[in-house]
């Protein structure tokens, strides 16, 4: 039961990441691409968690924490650059 659920969830996450990449490619404006990149970060965290469940290890959660923090900081930096023309004033 767990293996089937894991396969279904993996397929859904991969489809979601494919749609993110599609929006990242065809987004008409810069904030669209930025939103697609941020969602891609979150979906990659989900993929790493599923990989940890699949391999039955807990080694990958530090990588997930790191991706979460760096994704937030990167999105904030690009938002501030678009909004104010500078990141740190």
């Amino acid at each position: 039961m767990l293996v089937i659920a894991l396969m279904i969830s993996l397929g859904l996450i991969v489809a979601a990441m494919a749609m993110n990449v599609l929006r990242l490619a065809k987004g008409p404006d810069v904030p669209d691409r930025l939103l697609a990149l941020d969602t891609l970060y979150v979906n990659s965290i989900a993929l790493i968690v599923l990989l940890g469940l699949w391999l039955n290890t807990k080694t990958y959660f530090e990588a997930a924490i790191l991706i979460a923090m760096l994704g937030f900081v990167g999105t904030m930096a690009i938002c501030r650059y678009l909004l104010r023309g500078d990141i740190i004033e």
Binding site: M1, L2, I4, A5, L6, I8, S9, L10, G11, L12, I13, A15, A16, M17, M19, N20, L22, R23, D29, V30, P31, D32, L34, L35, A36, D38, T39, V42, N43, I45, A46, V49, L50, G52, L53, N56, K58, F61, E62, A64, I65, A68, M69, F72, T75, M76, C79, R80, L82, L83, R84, G85, D86, E89
Partner: protein, 146 residues
Amino acid sequence: MTFTLLAEGVVAFLLVAGGMFAFTGSLGMLQFKDFFMRLHGPTKGTTLGIGCMLMASMLYFTVTQREFHVQELLITFFLFLTAPVTGHMLAKTGLHMHLRFITGTRGSLPELRDEDVGQSRVARPAKARHPWRTRRRSRQKPRLPR
């Protein structure tokens, strides 16, 4: 044995639900017509989906390895804290860049303040003061105990 089977069922349900939520969020981001509509999908659906998935992982490792896991709870807390901030900043950026929106999107674009878009400096108080101790220290005479 029964408890293990029950936990397995809950983990499987949470995994499938998380995948469905994440898929729905990304589908909304792909299919909506407008940036301000597209912002709704990832900020709610994807965040809830990854919350479900991290809960499933925490339950699985807690049951199988007989010790409580806090790292997934940490990631969940951090993501639930940062997703509204990211959405707010992205909406502000979209308002600032005057993105086109369809007529079905309600609400008018408010004028952002000059401090928000970098036209003027951020207004800050000249000197930080203590919230409730407003009188200055130097005027009070020190009272000596008699």
